[in-house]
């Protein structure tokens, strides 16, 4: 399934946004990503699931240097080069962009409407000064890989459907032959009947070229389908982390349980009443807190949860959870065994 080699290592990554509420008042911070650590193995698909505001998109964008990281480190190591994003110089940063790429969510805003498909897809190569003939050849190759044809190259984005545009976006990210690809909700904005096409395409490409994916989504069914390991994020932190089977079948954090419970299940209809519905709203990210960030909404809370700082602990075979009560409580996951495709 994947190498034992770690290609990307993230340590205590923090991204805070400053909120200036006026000239004379104190600066407040939105703690969008509040201390995230994980390792990405070569060739695997790591899923990051969470709801809106949990920081997964901020995390993804920080990993491609679209945001300046507030603190922590991001180490890239593919065997040939080692880059630490935090103290990288300009050349290293440019090398980094060749190795770590991103696919955006919205096919309608991720392509510049004034540039035709050829130029859009060729842009990464142009930026990195590839020779002209090589550019033409690579564009033609990659466009075929994503299921489009040469005649599409001179056309403009407005003449394509959402699914086709997403393919163009994927082509653009792949043309520079990166090793790590961040898929930031790459299928969420597509029609249901087209999502499967793109999911299959991503899997095929991975099988052929051994990409490592970080797949960010809010859709548990898609994550389950495509990922090897899963990180569950809540309010800027990872609250659970493990292989797909472990996290989905025997979750060790109440939030994961609530997520799994909340997903409408097509073959288990009318299961209302048995649901443990998570009440309340996600927390305010500008307030600093000690203790568990899910405290107010958690059905398993005790007073100590509010006072103990959050920490990811290993409950066996690298299955991590931030819940301090994990050994005392019994959580339910999905009851179906996950079969390999």
């Amino acid at each position: 399934m994947h190498d034992e080699k770690v290609i990307l290592q993230v340590n205590d990554l923090k991204k805070y946004f400053s909120l200036r509420t006026g000239f004379f008042s104190e600066t407040r911070y939105i703690r969008a990503v509040d201390g995230v650590s994980f390792e990405l193995y070569k060739g695997e698909t790591l899923g990051i699931i969470g709801e809106s505001g949990c920081g997964k998109s901020t995390l993804g964008r920080s990993l491609v240097n679209l945001y300046n990281i507030t603190s922590g480190s991001v180490l890239y190591n593919d065997g040939d080069q080692k880059i630490n994003l935090i103290n990288a110089n300009d050349r290293e940063k440019k090398d980094y962009t060749k190795s770590v790429q991103i696919i955006f969510q919205d096919p309608f805003s991720s392509l510049n409407p004034r540039i035709n498909v050829f130029e859009t897809v060729a842009e990464p190569l142009i930026i990195h000064r590839y020779p002209k003939e090589e550019i033409e050849q690579k564009v033609s190759e990659v466009i075929a890989q994503v299921g489009l044809r040469d005649e599409h190259l001179r056309r403009y984005p407005h003449s394509f459907s959402g699914g086709q545009r997403q393919r163009i976006g994927i082509a653009r990210s792949l043309i520079i032959s990166p090793k790590v690809i961040i898929c930031d909700e790459a299928v969420s904005a597509l029609d249901v009947s087209v999502q499967a096409q793109i999911i299959n395409l991503l899997k095929e490409l991975q099988a052929r070229y051994h990409y490592s994916y970080i797949f960010i989504s809010h859709d548990m069914s898609v994550i389950r389908h495509i990922c090897d390991r899963i990180a569950v994020m809540y309010a800027g932190r990872i609250v659970e982390f493990g292989t797909k089977e472990e996290v989905l079948n025997s979750p060790k954090h109440p939030y994961t349980e609530a997520l799994l419970d909340a997903v409408p299940k097509i073959s288990n209809r009318k299961s209302k009443g048995k649901r443990k519905i998570l009440s309340g709203e996600p927390p305010d990210l500008s307030r600093e807190r000690i203790g568990c960030n899910m405290f107010e909404r958690c059905g398993y809370r005790i007073d100590a949860c509010q006072a103990t700082p959050m920490k990811l602990s290993d409950v066996g075979s690298h299955h991590l959870t931030a819940c301090m009560r994990t050994k005392e409580i019994q959580l339910n996951g999905l009851s179906i065994e996950a079969k390999q495709p």
Binding site: R61, N65, L66, F104, N112, P113, P124, R155, S159, R172
Partner: protein, 374 residues
């Protein structure tokens, strides 16, 4: 759009044009569908053409006087004579007589004197673009009988000739002034929007200050300070600078907003993630997204400039004689007597109104055409 990848795509011509259409050609075709705007554009083009070739088109220079024919009403041109039938255009000579009842001078046609209008006649010499010298005019008449298409003014000068001559200054000042204003506005607005943070704050506060200054009094103050002995050309450029220095504020605002928005578009982020340099992002991704908006703003700002110059010159603070602009021509119509007795002196005002309207129509058409893609 058809299906892919297996079906054979039989694309017809119409679809093909749509698929391969760049943003600009899409905007152009939408503009053409807007009939009012298209026609206005043609008329504007004609106006500018006339301005460029004004020396050739009009019979007289702007300073030529016919002192015996001051305040003459527009000359009627006839092509039909009861005796001779249809002929080429001609005018009757005019006699100045004193109206015994109102004690004012009036002109009456002298039916005995028939003078034909000649085309491509020789008249006063002029130089086109300062290079080509010629003295051929489109039409003219013998020297003793003037033809005043729009009547004559207080000094017996042909209003038609002066109006067309004046369009050179009035129409061009709009363009020059707007370009200057835009250069300042885009530069400051762009820097403000792209970099954000403190630079943005600083520039925005400066713009706040500029916008809060009252424009008309400022224009008047600056113009009043201009030395009277400067040549017309110097005054002309000084006026354009004055106009543009004060009016770049709103455009800078708009530029900043647009750049801010475009900077956060996913495709800009994609370019950054691919390692694009700042200049590449600005040139390739931000500017094109903004240029359609820019063209619309320019087109809609020109009327303001034209009106501003007209106002200044009308008040005697702008262009000074012997240079002519529509504003200076309107100086003569400043009193009630003039308007009631010589209403033809207001014709330059019609030109001003017409030009402003044409620019507004074209601007509207451009905005509608560019909108979905802005």
């Amino acid at each position: 759009m058809g299906n892919f990848p297996n079906s054979s795509s039989v694309i017809n011509e119409e679809d093909k044009n749509f698929y391969y259409a760049t943003q600009w050609s899409l905007i152009r075709s939408r503009f053409r569908q807007h009939r009012l705007a298209s026609i206005s554009l043609i008329f504007l083009g004609l106006l500018y053409l006339f301005a460029i070739f004004s020396d050739f088109l009009v019979p007289y220079s702007s300073t030529q006087r016919f002192s015996k024919y001051n305040f003459s009403a527009p000359t009627s041109i006839h092509i039909y004579d009861s005796e001779a039938g249809f002929s080429s255009p001609f005018v009757y000579g005019q006699k100045k007589i004193l109206d015994k009842k109102t004690f004012s001078w009036k002109y009456e046609p002298d039916l005995t004197k028939k003078v034909y209008i000649q085309f491509f006649t020789e008249g006063e010499e002029y130089s086109l673009f300062g290079i080509f010298k010629s003295n051929i005019h489109l039409f003219g008449i013998d020297e003793k009988t003037p033809v005043f298409l729009f009547g004559s003014d207080r000094l017996g000068r042909d209003v038609f000739s002066r109006t067309i001559h004046g369009s050179q200054i009035s129409l061009s000042i709009g363009l020059v002034g707007v370009s200057l204003s835009f250069l300042i506005g885009i530069l400051l607005g762009g820097v403000s929007g792209y970099y954000g943070g403190y630079i943005d704050d600083l520039i925005q506060r400066f713009i706040d200050f500029m916008i809060s200054l009252p424009t008309i009094p400022l224009w008047m103050a600056f113009s009043a300070v201009l030395p009277r002995d400067w040549s017309s050309l110097k005054t002309y450029f000084a006026i354009t600078i004055i106009l543009s220095i004060i009016s770049w504020g709103p455009l800078a605002r708009v530029t900043r907003g647009k750049i801010l928005a475009l900077r956060e578009e996913d495709y800009t982020l994609a370019a950054r993630a691919a390692g694009a340099s700042t200049s590449r992002i600005i040139v390739k991704h931000l500017l094109p997204g903004f240029s359609s908006h820019l063209i619309v703003s320019i087109t809609l700002s020109i009327p303001g400039m034209i009106l501003a110059e007209t106002a200044l010159s009308f008040l005697g603070l702008g262009i000074q004689p012997p240079a002519v602009s529509w504003g200076t021509l309107l100086q003569d119509s400043q009193d009630l007597m003039a308007i009631t007795n010589q209403p033809w002196l207001l014709i330059p005002a019609i030109f001003v109104i017409g030009t402003v309207l044409l620019f507004n129509f074209v601007g509207d058409g451009l905005r509608d055409a560019a909108d979905p893609y802005s």
